[in-house]
Amino acid sequence: MEVLQPVANPKAKSDGKVKKVMIIVSKATLHNVYASFILANGARMEGIEAELFFTFFGLEAINKKKLNDLHVATVGNPAMHIPTLLGGLPGMEAMATSMMKKEMEKLDIPPIDEFLEILVASGVKIWACKLAMDMFHLEKEDLIDDLEGVLTVGDFYNRAHGEGSHLMFI
């Protein structure tokens, strides 16, 4: 019986290092947006390329009029340890958000608008999803001036080509 051995491809030399992270931001709750920003910024600090692709509700994080009003979710978030009924009361989200923002400022984590500026200055590319923009009736002018461009999903995947590229969904 012939046993087929996998043939090593001499061209596929990889050092196994992460070279590029492509992060899809699909939600605009404050903690999700911060998680994606910190991952992107942390990548640049290690010399890793980083790109952010904002889709669906994630678009709020790069919407000029909305980006500074993102909230922590107090409902449907068991880690908040607030009963669902209480979490839905008026003012609860605002209170949780303001508490979290205070804690973050202590750690030198910037507000969303400043964080976006830092990311762009650090070389992070910011993209918006075309389909989601159509869905929410958004124009390019509604989004931050530092936007690199508007992409389809296919365009985004094409940017991830190459050894050492990783995709993340947040």
Partner: protein, 102 residues
């Protein structure tokens, strides 16, 4: 562990950061920078001086704080110390590896 950098033997951590800032001098900085592929110019030295002062005052370093220092902006910081500016600049400055995620 001991390591010879330039013409001097210094104590470094596993990651190659100086343990004792007193062992640092400009020749050591130049040699470490060379390892990192960086030729130090005036703008680099200004950043190095700033980072060392922050370290002496026990101020934790972040990209944001460097950007607000007035010494260099974030874009300039990445241009001076490409691919990991805070880590590279800290190593060249003879101060410990930064522990911040931001």
């Amino acid at each position: 562990m001991e390591k010879t950098i330039g013409n001097k033997t210094v104590n470094v951590s596993e990651d190659g950061y100086l343990i004792d800032l007193n062992e640092w001098d400009k020749d050591v900085a130049t040699a470490i920078a060379q390892e990192e592929g960086i030729t130090l110019a005036d703008d680099h030295w200004k950043v190095i001086e700033y980072l060392q002062n922050q370290h002496k005052n026990d101020v934790p370093l972040t990209i944001r704080s460097v950007g607000k220092s007035g010494v260099v902006d974030i874009k300039g910081f990445y241009a001076l110390f490409p691919e990991g500016p805070l880590k590279k600049a800290s190593r060249i400055s003879g101060i410990p590896k930064p522990v911040s995620c931001i």
